[in-house]
Symmetry: C2
Subunit: 257 residues, 2 copies
Amino acid sequence: MNFISGNETDGVNEQLFELEVAGEQLTGALWYPARADGPRPLVLMGHGGSQNKKFPPLVARAQRYAQVFGFAVAAIDMPGHGGRRGAEQAAQFGAEIGARLAQGQPVGEFVSHRMTGLAAQAVPEWQAALDALQSLDFIGAGGPVGYWGLSMGGAIGVFLAAAEPRITAAVFGLAGLFPGQEAMAAAAAKISIPLEFVVQWQDEMVPREASFALFEAFGSKEKSLHANPGTHGRVTNLEVENWERFFQRHLGTPKVF
Amino acid sequence: MNFISGNETDGVNEQLFELEVAGEQLTGALWYPARADGPRPLVLMGHGGSQNKKFPPLVARAQRYAQVFGFAVAAIDMPGHGGRRGAEQAAQFGAEIGARLAQGQPVGEFVSHRMTGLAAQAVPEWQAALDALQSLDFIGAGGPVGYWGLSMGGAIGVFLAAAEPRITAAVFGLAGLFPGQEAMAAAAAKISIPLEFVVQWQDEMVPREASFALFEAFGSKEKSLHANPGTHGRVTNLEVENWERFFQRHLGTPKVF
């Protein structure tokens, strides 16, 4: 893991990093309290499709988590995103979704299958990043790790949380389970950590039934589905506040900010 | 409104009261900070079927709301409950539900129609109680009023909130909307206040689809559906905490506890 640039804002360090995984340069960002000393909870944030590790609302939450809760927060560019190889296919895929939506066609199943394919690459990348992050003395190994991801970040997160026992609590949402997605159903069933799951009641990309099917499939005993009015991505700030409480409850507070 | 007995516990007054409405003695309970001075938010709590105004978890929440948030909280016995006239029919109805559930028959529609009937009596009773409560100097008129009710208390609450503009925020849940319930659908559509709506994912009395239909029918712009695993009535403490935040957010804090 190479730190390639950094800056401090309001007591929070932001470090961009690179990490070689399977012959490709993974690019990521890490936020942590500037005075961080010793191990602390880590939150992995999986950005949505067409976004990247520096998507402004993600950065704002990461900075707040570091500043107010003392967490470390990391985001990586997903395959084909943030200047990584495969941008052309990602753009093509985005255009195809746009065209289908413009024609009033359902896109959920099409999107969901693509996400399953992406997850096969993204999961080992997240795991390699987690190895590197946990080797840093201000994060440490063995501590609580949260995952947050909606839409593409949600679908990939389901596969990651199923494969990665170090993740101890997760927020997913704006993602669904469609008929025939046995791999995703099996991944969801394997998950037993506390979950919060976000649904947009008028989601034009993920039908409610697919959201409900994914929520149903999770093996977790503690799982809460929160649904609010609005279209895909227009998640209310009430949920942003709920995620903070969720991660505080499940990840705790570091001894030293 | 006649206060018939009272006591103080941990800085909270509990007063039982009677109020004549349409020739019948309504029985209720009121909690408020012992040192209450001047107007404050009021929360009305609608108990569930077979319960009454002194149902222990309701009392525990009422005491906490008064002690920690400075609210006044009131509960009244619903028709046929808590020693009121009609107990025999209520018991018969409860036995009928039990028998149907034991035979694996759906009960939601049967229950929901009965609740609509009860609401016709309960709504004017709640309104008379609200008149009397708002005439007390430590509650006052014109301040924020919340309503909380699940199951029977939820179904009745939908009709009450539709009829009563003084109610400014409500928590409903464990209640559904079934085909043909036009009066309830119209009541739900009339409601425009912020709502939190609780669903139990394995509710044996209210099918998910009926819960979703009721949530969909609410006219409110701000409405959040929270679903958790479990059967009817087994609501997680996480939601109990969410209700506290919801009422604090929407009802505010009194000037003087």
